[in-house]
Each structure stands twice: as C-alpha cells, then as structure tokens.
Homo-oligomer: 475 residues x 2
C-alpha cells in the first residue's frame, strides 16, 4: 500500500506489518474479537510513537494502541473496517531507571509486568501490581485499563501505583509528565484521566511508578465460614487487627473449591468432615515487616479472636512458604477448573462490601427463578468488594443453551449490581464488551461529561474508536 | 439589587448576603487577597446549589465556590470586579452516613474536617486527613485543593481518600457519583479531575470517603542527624523496617528548633550538648495495630539499627503519649515561632526525595549569593518530598527589604525546584498566587491540555475565573 510508505520511512520496513503477519494483532487472545487493520506499526521509542500519531492525525487514520493484547474486553482489537492502524507499544520495553531513595522507577509502556516486578525486586523493592496475565501483559496496558489484581486491598489499583506519565496526544505532541513526586498540586489531574481511558484519549508511552519495601515474610490462612456476613465481619476484624499488613482477602464459595478438587484431585482441601463442606471460605494473606514467626503469631491472635466471636468454623494457617503457596494455588486454580468444566458466563463486578451478601442472595435467586438449576461460581477479592460472579450450566442446560442466554444473564446480574450501587466493570474495563450497556447503568450527566472530554482531547475521534464510548468513537 | 431577587426566591433572604455582611467572604483569612462580590449565596442542599448555578449560567454570573476560607493561595476570594457570586458551601454540613462494613462515609462539602474526623472516630474508624486548619477548613475545600497534611506518607493526599463525588456542573446539572467502590473501571476518572481543580470545573457538594481502622497505639521519636543525606537514608530504613506503620517522617532544620526554643523557652529540646546543636533533626511517628509496647520495641529495633549504621547521632523515643505530643508540639510550633519572629517568604515545594539534599544545598547557596545573610527556615514532610522552604530576613535585612524582594526569592527557589523535577506547589494549590508563574514551570503541552479541559467543561468560563488558569478564567 503506497499509503504506508510514510510509515515505512519513519519506522523501517520491519516495523510496519501487514497481511498474515498482522494476524495475531487483530484478534484478542481469547478469540472473542477479531478485526482488520490497515497495518501494525511497531515504533521503538516515544519520538517514533509521536511521529506515527502525527501521520495518522494528518491522514485521519484511526489508531488502536496495543500492549500485551491480554485484555478481556476487546479494547486492543480493531474493528472490521480495516481502516485503523494497530500501534503496538511492544518495542518500548526499557526500564529507564530506578531511584531507590525516592522509591520510584521509570518504565516504558511496553515493559512486561513481570519484568517490572523483577527489576523492582532486583533493587530490593516491591512493585505490588500482580495479576494472572503478568507474564505477558504490559505495564502500558495495565495503566490504560487501570488494572486491579490480588493486592489492591493493600496497595490500590494500578492508578494508585503511578506518580507520573509520558503521553503522546492525539495530535502527536508529547506530554512530559514523568514526575516522581508524591505531592504536586499544580493543576488538573491529567495523569488519572489517561489512566483507565483505554487508549481513547492518547497513548501512554512511559510511567513513573511507586515502589514499596519488600515484605520480610508472608503468611496465608484458609478459613471455613458459614456465611458471607461472617466473611464481611471477619474482614473488618482482620483490617483492624492486621492494619496494612493485610494484603489479601479472597472470598471463595465452597462450590469453587469442590470444583477444583473434582478437576484436579491432587489438589486436596486442607479440611475434612463438616469443615470441608462449608458454603464459604476465605483466603487471607498478611505481609510482615518483622519475621515469619511474627506473621504466624499475628494470624493465631486474630484468627483466635474470630473463633471466639463465632465468625470462623475452622481454619488452617500455613506453617511455611510451601503451604502458603498451596493455599493460594487452590484459589488460583478456580478459573482453570471452571474452564475445564465447560464455558461459563463471567462477570467482573463490584458492590460495597456491606452489600455483598444481599447482592449474592438476590442475584442467585433471580437467576434460579429464570434459569432453574443453573450453577453459581462465585469468588473474588472481598477486600475490594470485587466479585468474579460466574454462571455455569450445571446439569440443567447444555453449553449452547447457556451461551444463547448470555445477554439475559448479564442483564440480571448487572441490574442487581446497579441496584446496590455497584459497578459492572470492577477491574477489566469497558472496551467493546460493555460499551453498549454502559449508558444503561451510568449517570447520564457522567456520560455527557465523558463525551465532552473525549471531544476536547480527541476532536477527530481517531483514538481507539468504538471503545468505552461509541459506537463510532465520536463523542 | 433587583438582579438578586431570583436568588432570594431560591434561598430565602437570610441566605443571600450583601454589603458589609459579605465582608468576611471576600477576603482570605490571611488578608492577602481582597475582592468584591455581587453577593454571597448560602444554599442549604445540593438541589439549591444546582438552582443557584443554573441561575448564574443563565445570567452569565461568575461563581467563586468557598468552603472554610482557609486556603493559602487565594482560590476562594473573588476578584475586584464585584460581578461574581461567592457560593458558600457552609450550610451543606451533614454527615450523610457511615458504613463501617464498607469502611466508607458520605459527607457534604461544608462539613468541617474536624467534624469528619470525629464522626469517623465515633464509629471506631480513622479518617486520616489531618492538617493545621482542621478546626475550620471544610472537606469540600480539602478536596477542591487536594489537601495534603501530616499523614500523606501512609494514607496519601486527600485524593487518595475519596471513592466518590457528587458534583454540580457549570450548567447546574448534578453528577451523582457517590460510589463507595474500591474498584470501578467504567470510563474516565472524573472524580480525580474535580479533585484539585479548585472549583474551576464544577462544585463538589458531597463525597464518599475511605475510612481506616483506628491504630491501637502511636509512638514518636526525635532523632538528631548530621545531614539531609542521613535523613534520606534513615527514611529508607524506616520504610523498610516499619512498612505501613510509619505514619510520619518530618525533617526539621536545627535552626527551626532553636527558633522555637528562643520564642517559647518553656518548650525545651529533648537533647543537650552536641546533640542539641545538630544541623538536622527528624521526627518519626509510627502507628501500631498491636500495642504501645510493640510500637516502642519496633522503634528501639529500627533506631538501634540506624545508630549502628552511623545514620543517627542521638535519639529520643517517647515513653508515653504525653511525650509523643510534646515532640509533635515542637514541630507544630515552628510556623508560629517563625511568625512571631517576623514575616518570611514561604514556599510549599516538592522534589524527589533523592534530590532533597541537592535542592537544599543549591538553593541555600543561590539565595546567599544574591542576599547575603538571609536565613533559611526549612522543615517539611520528608516522606513525601515536600518542604516548607521559608526565607527569613535574619540580621541582614529589614522586613520591608525582604518583602520587596519576594518575587526574586520566589524565582530562585522555584527555578531550583524546577531544575530538579519538583513542583512549585506541593500541597497548597495554585489559586491566584501561583497562576501567573505556572506556565513558566509547566510543560506547554500540559498547559494546553488543561485549557482544553476547562473549555470543554466550563465553556462560559464562569467557574472560579482567574484561578489556576487565567487571568480571565477563559481558556
């Protein structure tokens, strides 16, 4: 395509990809979204990103920024028109520097999350963002979607881990906002506007990240519970007793652990008898700045208190790192066991922690009323009010029957979330997947403000069109 | 004024104030800014705020939102034209609710910060925002300026303590964004855009705030140090050793403590001999979730380590709450002692912690070169990289001579801040005070983006004109 000659001039022929070579860039990793692209551009530094964007702006070519292509909502996949340029940040993968006195690191958008974590660890620091895709997702994508993960309870979402950004605007200008400051009150918070905007307002090319001290020890416990109410009360007790040492509090329905046990018999539950048949479990993790002994002592004190208060039916406290890992492995195996058992309908929702029990009760009931015999696969980050509330076919339906009712299931779940002041996308974002239902749940004033911001910062509507707002990307 | 009849209709005559009664609303508390107002409107709830704003929008009347009128940069004071309406949020002062299971509280903008802290404490929770004006500043003002304070090191700025907002837009629409969710990825982050925008994009009328467990014990230590480098190394050690228990780390120049001692001889330094004559001191505070004994033990362990490493020349660890308070009182008395000694030129700046020593050295030298004999009054929140770097006349100048050089002093200090990647307003905001110098230090791309957002959200330019951006408030 002669149109692409300019891009080849800027990036060299190896970094402008078309045809079959572009295949892996135009489909999301789960194969749910597939589009077409004019080409895939792979700039090698921020200047090249800016040049490519300037060219797109001048030629009215839409841009789909892409990191590790591990998103769950189709935000990094182009539409089917074939007019958009996929702009891959993969080659911007340098750790630019680590400042241990300031507890910050400067990284480029294309760095793999695991690479960022490791670089921090090599400097005796913790970069706490951690999620299932960490071996292939990029920090740029994590920031564009404000990723969550397992340590949000203590360290916050991706947003809370960023001090500064470098961004290429839709005109191809570079905003040099890589500040390593914990306090800076000199105007509007552009940083947090770009974070979570899914590439629709500009392209994050680098970030200054916060680092934390490495914990001296971590310890994990699994407790058996009679109810979600008890889990919520235990969370309160744990927050008070452990304060910021509490780095994980995962709620797991008994059904999920049995599913893991059924699919992977070698993974045994650490409970027997009644304790192995409880409706709910919680996995607690603490990170200690003193010692492994201190961590265990603290666990014994607080879990003991919970026993006395009648909140906990049984508990296992890991005696060593291997046992801690085995407990976490149970939790992490739920999505795999779920997948092996057949396709399910997934939700990534949040509600206030205080309404978690009402939410589960009402939503389970509403789904059973409409689809008797359907199964509820419920687990998530209770400490953040974030549930992965999934729906499986059970014995009552075939996979096809289940999936043909996907929209009805979504609506029942999301309507219940909305009624309780919750969010229909807690940590995965909007992308294409939830774009069209967003106005059903979002305050119209908020939608209008979002459209105005989109119009102000991307008046040509070229940045990731059809994502978040839509359907054309035009406000 | 017949023009005000509509407002009187909406709010009642008692809540539309003109003439001499409006006096305290048109001048800032330090008497540095004085303006004139068409009137002062005191709506009693969000609906009334919206009605007043709609009236202003229809009649092109500029609006100056005002909380406790305790700001330091003139953001709540109208200009001298007399055309603007001061909109006081003081009557929106209800705590709407506290949800202890969700660890959140919903408060109206006009609540006094101390009232918010107390309501949290009554529910056995901590709302950690704490600053000198807490007895009279309002939470709405704290959010509009993204206030900092003494606990930022552990809990973050005001921004980090907010989950949701209710905002009246410049058109008088109400954005119902009072979400109590720790995870919500459904679009652009409007919350953080309004926070810190100093009333130039809309009016915050209520907020959902994060609560934390109350610490079981707090303990304070004062240490004597040879250099800022040693203070930075001690901060690293303390962050690692105490992790999130470290809730305060204040750097204090020896000169400041002697100033306190000179002005208030009853406040004695807890050191004698060489230790009382060190160039630097640091005040450390830890908050413990176990016990006072544990807090002291931890202090002894970490301060002991610092002694061994040669970082600390001497140390006093408080033995009880009274001693902790006495140590904090020394720190808190610095601004008062400074004021008693005469007017000084104040700066609220931040630099990366790793550059703190270079900053102080270079700036002291540059000021001495230009104004020999001038005095440096340096203290601040080292943990956040935030210094109150103040300049006093000493014996070398009269007060008038000093103040007549204010702009030159500002420029020397701010230029040095800028060179080291710092911020000219760490926690006080921009307001009128720093509006005109902002473009000197801020990336032009960032300034342009800010203007576009202002234009998009306040196209009539009626919201707090001449603050942050200016001089007319028009982009």
């Amino acid at each position: 395509m002669t149109q692409l000659n300019d891009l080849v001039q800027i990036l060299g022929p190896a970094n402008v990809i078309t045809g079959a070579d572009a295949d892996s860039y135009v489909e999301d990793w789960r194969g749910r979204y597939r589009g077409q692209a004019l080409a895939v551009a792979r700039p090698g530094n921020t200047q090249e990103v800016a040049q490519v964007v300037k060219w797109c702006a001048a030629n009215k070519v839409p841009i789909v920024p892409q990191g590790g292509n591990t998103g769950l909502c189709g935000a990094a996949t182009p539409d089917s028109s074939g007019t958009a340029l996929v702009l891959s940040l993969a080659r911007l993968n340098r750790i630019r520097g680590i400042d241990t006195d300031n507890d910050t690191m400067e990284v480029e958008a294309g760095c793999i999350l695991q690479q960022v974590q490791q670089a921090a660890r090599d400097a005796q620091r913790l970069f706490p963002l951690s999620l299932a895709a960490e071996g292939s997702c990029t920090i740029g994508g994590n920031l564009a979607t404000n990723a969550g993960g397992t340590q949000v309870l203590r360290y916050g979402n991706a947003r809370e881990l960023v001090l500064g950004l470098e961004v290429v605007t839709p005109e191809g200008d570079i905003w040099h906002g890589l500040r390593g400051l914990r306090k800076d009150n000199t105007g509007y918070d552009l940083r947090d506007l770009y974070i979570g905007s899914e590439g629709t307002l500009g392209i994050i090319t680098a970030a200054t990240l916060k680092l934390y001290p490495l914990p001296v020890a971590q310890c994990t416990a699994l407790v058996a519970l009679n109810s979600v109410e008890d889990a919520v009360a235990l969370l309160s007790m744990a927050r008070r007793g452990f304060a910021a040492s509490l780095t994980g509090f995962e709620l797991i329905a008994g059904f999920c652990l049995h599913l893991v046990n059924r699919q992977y018999p070698q993974q045994r539950l650490p409970f027997e008898g009644d304790s192995a048949a409880m409706p709910w479990y919680a996995l607690l993790e603490i990170s200690d700045s003193e010692s492994a002994e201190h961590a265990r002592e603290r666990f014994e004190a607080i879990v003991g208190e919970a026993f006395e208060a009648g909140l906990v039916a049984d508990a296992v406290i890991a005696e060593n790192i291997a046992q801690s890992k085995a407990l976490w492995h149970l939790r992490e195996s739920i999505p795999l066991a779920e997948k092996d058992a057949g396709k399910s309908i997934k939700h990534d929702v949040s509600v206030p922690v205080s309404r978690m029990s009402s939410f589960i009760e009402a939503t389970n009931a509403a789904l059973q009323a409409r689809f008797p015999g359907i199964e509820h696969v419920i687990f998530g980050h209770l400490g953040d009010g974030n549930l992965h509330y999934n729906v499986a076919r059970g014995q009552a339906f075939t996979e096809d029957e289940l999936l043909s009712n996907q929209d009805a299931v979504y609506e029942i779940v999301h309507d219940n979330v909305h009624k309780l002041g919750g969010s229909i996308s807690a940590e995965h974002g909007v992308g294409q997947l939830k774009r069209d239902v967003l106005p059903r749940y979002k305050d119209p004033v908020e939608m209008a403000l979002m459209r105005r911001i989109k119009q102000a910062l991307d008046p040509q509507g070229l940045m990731n069109p059809g994502k978040v707002l839509g359907p054309t990307g035009k406000p």
